[in-house]
Amino acid sequence: MDLILVLGLLAPPFVAALLALVMRREPARVAWFNAATMPVSLAAAAAIAVRLARGGEPVVVGEMWRLDALSAWLAVLVSGVATLAAALGPGLDREHPAPSGEIRQFRLYASLFAFTMLVAVATGNLGVMWVAIEATTVTSALLIPLRRTKASVDASWKYLLIGSVGIALAFTGTVLAYVDFATTGADINVALHWTTLRDAATALHPRVARLAFVFLLVGFGTKAGLAPTHTWLPDAHSEAPSPLSAMMSGVLLSVALYAIVRWKAIVDVAAGSAFTDSLLLIVGIATVAVGSLSLLSQTHFKRLLAFSSIEHMGLACFGLALGPLGVFAALLHLTGHALAKSAAFLLSGRVLERYGSGTISGAPGLLATAPHTAVLFASGIFALGGLPPFGLFLSEILIVKAGWAAGHPVLTSVVLLLLLIAFGSLLVQVHRMLFGEALPGIVRGERASVPVILLSIPMVLLVWLGVSIPPPLQNLLSHAVLVVRP
């Protein structure tokens, strides 16, 4: 049973990638196949999640695969966003057909990208998790310069180099922890299994564990877009084709954060949670500051969204350091962020199509030209700004509450201030796009086509999340919290 579930989770993107390799002739078919099969892996993830939400045993297949509540939750997010991206990626839209080369490349790398992320989530082996996350860099970097512009190539190079070096540091951390574990003289071959490590964590040496965690935090933090090593993110996310940006911003960052959380759980046991928490607090605040302060002066709307991702990652990181309630809030926050941000990026792709310009000043009067897109985009921005009835409203309140409860009133007040700045900046920027006179020659009017309907799904889910969290999700998250903070 478990095997089927894991297969169902991992196979669709992998097969799609293979098809894209072999069926070079008709990429459109591949696209259809990809879009049609991704829901399967979503369904598998959902099945796993439901089972774990009911308090069931983790899904384990051999030494390699192990999904507990935390992984299941993230698997759902990853497969869900991947499904959305696959459905809206190039090759399906008859109105704006894309060159077949692009379609092939996109389907190949995007599927691989999704696959590697799912592997990183589904594996129980921290070494393999590292390998998979490193692989996400490789697979996504090639897709960024889908249309070869100087900017996109540079962005991809930055992403590749910084990402790889950073992730290498993470590997250093992994090795350090592993070395430390080896010194305890346990069975080395299962050493990097999360469960083993966690059980043996009490035997680890605190100082080494601390050392390792610093490396891990910087390393995976680079991928998670935490300050100050977030620098590759704005370029990469803004230059990438929108479906890819949606996946990167929506879930890749969460996957990297997930890696940090995994290790945190171990180091907490070894070196006490006070240490990890304070590091996360520092990094989180810095990240929120960088993200929210940058928003106002951005000139491209995709960069705007990218910096908002940074801000939200920082917020989640902040929440992770605030005890069980904070962790719950952070996970909820990441859920909402995945929905809102992926939708926003996909919508920004539509805006780009309509206006042919990525600048905010170049896309005024959106309400007049493309009402549906405009309304959805605005809802996405407001969701990201933390307004009800969207889910991020609840999670932000929870984070603030947790911050005070955890005894950090000053830091929390700083976060509140930064949240205000972020909201104001987003507001000003989105107003620049929604209102004003549309430039002459821009197509006016828009009908409620399939993409619009697809894109309104995440919004509906966000509202659902914000008004009444479905009990299964609540249980799942509570179990996930137990994984992080037993």
Binding site: V214, V218, P228, L279, L367, F423, L427, F435
Partner: protein
Amino acid sequence: MTFSLLFDTMIAAFAVGAVAAMVLPLGALMRRLALTAAAIGSAAALALGVNVLRAGAIWTGRWDNLLQPLGGVSLRLDSLGAFFLVIVGFTGVPASLYAIGYLRHLDGHLRSRTTHAVFNMFLASMCLVPCADNVATFLFAWEMMALSSYLLVVSDPEQHDASSAGIWYAAMTHAGFLALLAAFVILAQGGSWEFSALHRAGATLTPAARGAVFLLMAAAFGSKAGLVPLHVWLPRAHPAAPSHASALMSAAMVNLGVYGLARVVFDLLPPGPPWWGGLLLAVGVITALTGVLYSVAETHLKRVLAYSTVENLGLVFIGLGFALLMRGYGYGPLASMGLVAALLHALNHAVFKNLLFLAAGSVVHGTHGASMEAFGGLIKRMPMTAVLSLVGALALAGLPPINGFPSEWLTFQLLVAGAQHTAPALAIVLPLALAGVALVAGLAAVSGVRLFGITFLALPRSPGARDAHESAGIMIAAMAIPAVTCVVLGVAPTLVIPQLSRIASDLGQPAGPLSEGLALSVPLVGSRLWPAVITLLMVGTGLAAAVAVRLAGRARSVRIDAAWNCGRIIQSPRSEYTAAAFAEPLKRVFTGFYRPRQEVTVDVHPASRYFVRAIRLRADLTPWMEQMLYEPLLRATQAASNRMRQIHSGSIHFYLALLPAALLALLLIARWIP
């Protein structure tokens, strides 16, 4: 239980309205259904509030399956909440009915969907705010209210300044929300977020923390109620919204700020030090003066009304602040008097401001103009609107026999009684407040004359005004509801006094009787107001005089002829007094406040500079509050943001260098952490 039934009806009606607006085909049917639903919902809210008030009961309800992580939705309607629910419901009914006629021009537009749906959402959230019984519910309803009203503000693309107004509004209201959140978090001290629990938690709070909570709450609710200097969004946002929405924002929403603060300081928090009241009182006086001074000088019709809202909320807060002050010094009866005065004025203001904004909507609708300078002579084209506006203008001027007067009178009595019955140290400050209120009353009268006279009397000053048209019947009918109420409450304010006294005693301020029969009476200063008698006397004399003139005048000739205009043959509207001209003397008197800026450009004939072709005068007021308080903040943020932008230079080497830098830095930090 009938309460629950009413509540469910209310929510259901709003939901139906919103859904109808979203799904029904565009057109008249959708408009009628959606807005009728809104009216029904408001009526239900009104009924619920009235029943709770009359029965003196408390209605509670829970929805545990909503907002679970924050402790579910819990509802509780006591007398205070019911009173404000009544205000919302009572202003909601006319606004909804009015909108049926007012928004006809939206039929077929896509945005009519959002406009009608959001309007229902707005009403629903406003009805939920006074019912909320825990922080989660309150914050959710509060922010929904903010969001929906913001959407209404920006809903009209023809309004060119709607966008900036929306930004001001949303940014400030979000700031208020965050302050609110912080205050609640401090108050809860990590405990439960039920109001009952907060009530208990408040007792264990340190005085400093209490002060912090109070200040945060005062800032948050005060900004919603338009307290100076947090009022700057109000005169921008209220006029930008479509009139049926501004009527609700100015009449209902701002009062929910009053509700919030009253709930906190009289219910959740334990009695605080007197400086709380002192602060509110001072701010209230300043607010009232600022508001009335701007409303006298402003020429944009709806902005005049918005500033008058600021003024009246200032008066309400004078009552609240006075009550707090007196409670702080232990003068129980005075405190309850203050509370009653505040609530009464809140109600009165809600009613007449509702009327005035709807009337302003008709004027704007009928003339397609927004500035009072472009109106004039409308009384002949829009007779009904004119009559109703006259009632509103009298109320706004705080004159008998309309409802603006009794609450103002009570406020006067309040301050006199306070000055008389308290220790000199405290009493010495009250005369200043009294003088302030008196000046406010006087200037309000000027504002009332100006509002009605310049808009409706004399000759039309623009083509739009020349062929203005009267509004549809349903709009007139809708406006008639608050208009009649204005008169009723003006003649018999005592109808509501007992309820208000009970609210005061429910809030721990048992009140002495403030009414005898149909007369307000303040035993503390042995003064009474019996509006019915005075009205009777006035009307009687007036009618008698009219009859006398009629009888005596049968033989007399009445000639209709051109007005004497200092020898000019034809009378042209150009020689009329305009809104700006009317305010000129006051502008001169209060130059220090207005800081007027003028530039005169004289366009002379090329041949000789003695032949003047045209003289242009541009005059406006310096918005010094914005310049002093807000622009520095905005500049600072912008600067920080630009700095950030420079940091992200794009140099890969710098980016890479950050990696080892971060690593070493964290390693260092890691050493310090125990």
